[in-house]
Subunit: 381 residues, 2 copies
């Protein structure tokens, strides 16, 4: 792979924000520009899942590029549902690898609280296959079907799901950008209201506003991209061979590992798409970290804790950092880069040489895997 570097990263705090989508995105962009200490770019890549419905905004890449004072450079918007942040990153990587661009500013964000929660749920459901949608399917309802089947096949306990939420909330406390900054307990998780049985409120990531940004360079940076993979799957559940493994993740991971020339054993930590607690478990299995059906045991054993053998979601994940849909995929990559660059503050992992991120688009119809490696010797800033 051509050497492409992350020269700077930025986040706008996730949560309920008063500012507009463009203000949040520009906040993240300015932070990344500051960290990279450079302000000239060959192009801007903008990711947002659905500003059309959430914010009545169209042509968002022009809006952001104008707000940043970067016209007349090219501005392009990328979208792959809830993996938008990751696909925006990928397209910018390809653009630099093509040789036509040297430095690109990548920004991804979403402002979901501009609409009511019922309306947000409706907008999110637009990624569901038409016939399933016409029968009233929602994202949590479909995730619940998967969860029930996982419990049936692999005898997973309720405790394992709770522990995913508890772990990620614990990590979120260490992350100043996280939506939630509070410790939770099994009582809180298991006493929270049912969203779609067996999924409870604390099994679901929140509706958030937020943005992430990365400066990519063909010259220098503190982390480099060593693997990229992208896969898709049938929209409709009834067409899928297996509900408990996402073909889109498996296909993306296979490509990313191959490009990087490594195996799952080489990964020191990962950011895994935990829009619903069972998805983190399925993700860690699809990525080859644990045997199929054993991921939930790894959670219970503490292996995925921030001090465990393979920390998963040190940032707090979508569950606690929050899930502004278009931003999440890029925020995962920001976390991985910060960990590799020893810039992760209180949640800094001891061993962080190679990190992986996995992002889910829609109901696992459009997933991406990214593998990054540290550029500096461990411990050096």
């Amino acid at each position: 792979m051509k050497e492409i570097y992350i020269a700077g990263c930025g986040l706008a705090k996730f949560g309920k924000r008063e500012e507009s989508l463009e203000e949040i995105m520009c906040e993240a962009a300015e932070a990344a520009i500051k960290e990279a200490n450079c302000d000239s770019f060959d192009a801007v890549y903008v990711g947002a899942m659905n500003p059309e419905d959430f914010n009545e905004e169209s042509d968002i890449s022009s809006v952001i590029t104008d707000h940043l004072g970067l016209t007349p450079i090219p501005a392009t918007r990328i979208e792959t549902a809830s993996s938008t942040g990751a696909s925006t990153f990928d397209e910018a990587i390809y653009a630099i690898a093509s040789g036509y661009f040297k430095r690109i500013l990548v920004i991804a964000g979403e402002k979901m609280t501009a609409v009511s929660t019922p309306r947000a749920t409706e907008i999110l459901a637009e990624v569901i296959e038409k016939h399933e949608r016409s029968l009233g399917a929602t994202m949590p309802a479909l995730a619940a079907i998967i969860t029930r089947r996982y419990i049936y096949d692999y005898k997973m306990t309720r405790e394992a799901l709770s522990m995913v939420a508890i772990k990620n909330h614990h990590n979120g406390i260490l992350n100043p950008y996280a939506h939630f900054q509070k410790e939770i307990t099994r009582e809180i998780v298991e006493g929270s209201k049912i969203v779609a049985d067996p999924l409870r409120l604390y099994d679901c990531s929140p509706i958030s506003d937020g943005a992430a940004a990365i400066v990519l360079s063909n010259e220098t940076g503190y982390a480099k991209v060593i693997g990229l993979g992208h896969g898709t799957d049938y929209m409709a559940f009834h067409q899928r061979e297996n509900l408990l493994s996402f073909r889109s993740t498996v296909s993306a991971a296979e490509k990313a590992y191959k490009m990087a020339g490594i195996t799952p054993k080489d990964i020191d930590f990962a950011e895994v798409h935990d829009a619903f607690t069972p998805f983190e478990i399925i993700g860690t299995e699809d990525l080859g970290f644990f045997e199929k059906g054993k991921g939930w045991l790894a959670v219970l054993n503490g292996e995925t804790d921030i001090k465990g053998a393979l920390p998963i979601n040190p940032s707090g994940g979508l569950k606690a950092r929050g899930h502004p849909v278009g931003a999440s995929g890029l925020a995962q990559i920001v976390e991985a880069a910060w960990q590799l660059g020893k810039r992760a503050g209180k949640r800094q992992l001891e061993k962080a040489e190679i990190g992986l991120t996995q992002s889910i688009g829609g109901l696992a119809t459009n997933n991406l895997v990214t593998i990054l490696q540290a550029c500096l010797p461990a411990g050096r800033r």
Copy 2:
């Protein structure tokens, strides 16, 4: 530039279509697959400007890739307002140039008639700068301001605008995929209702459904990409230095000519974004074909006719082929490729070695220029 080829093109007929967006897009894709005589791809790039608002569809790249039976390959949606078709093409080019992809299927489409015309107008207005929009600006209203200024500065006659529409409708008759297939006269144009003074109905492109598709290959094809350029401009009119020249086009053209190593004199024909008749005239000036303020004279002199010295919009343009917003930029490239490959049927130009396309995103905030060259000796199929 790395050699990247157009191996096959397809269009779904433009106009008011009964089929769904995905059906129209798949129709175009299947036509391109047939022309290219290949059906395996490394990725699918999907362009649509606003299926969220027009069709309540999200994650459209997954939908299309699933409908085509192409999962689990990567699927990515690109958007830059009304230049979406062109930017989708560009991203696919960069992906192939990166070396990670060999063959990509590019599809762009829009189904605008799923909503009422007033609602479509409202959706299209979402690309306008927020403050101008809050004051009631619409796309034709802003285009009318530009037109008035052009008339004031350059003394353009009403006849010149009419002749753009008449020329493009004439060409559209020769294009079986065009929305309109009828000859028009000055009386029809100048007797049509005023949309935004001085622009009349026949100065405006229609609301259309339609799709275009291209198979890109790193190996073989009948046309090759020799120049790409992409530029942006301030959203707000009051920030622009000049209303009569689009900085986004000028910047894009400069890059495309430089990459191709040619000048405007080398271009044999062009597809120019004529969403409003004056935009074709301004486009031909910004592209360096005619002196600033003289483009309207070239139209009156017949220079841009299909049998003129520099045919503009042999396809019928947005005016007569129709303007399904996300599709138009790619449909322009399809026309250029077909002309270069001597596949343009009744509207085949005699001299077609190098062709250019120019696409406008929003109110000229996000524009692209593409330059293609024929691969086969003239006359050979």
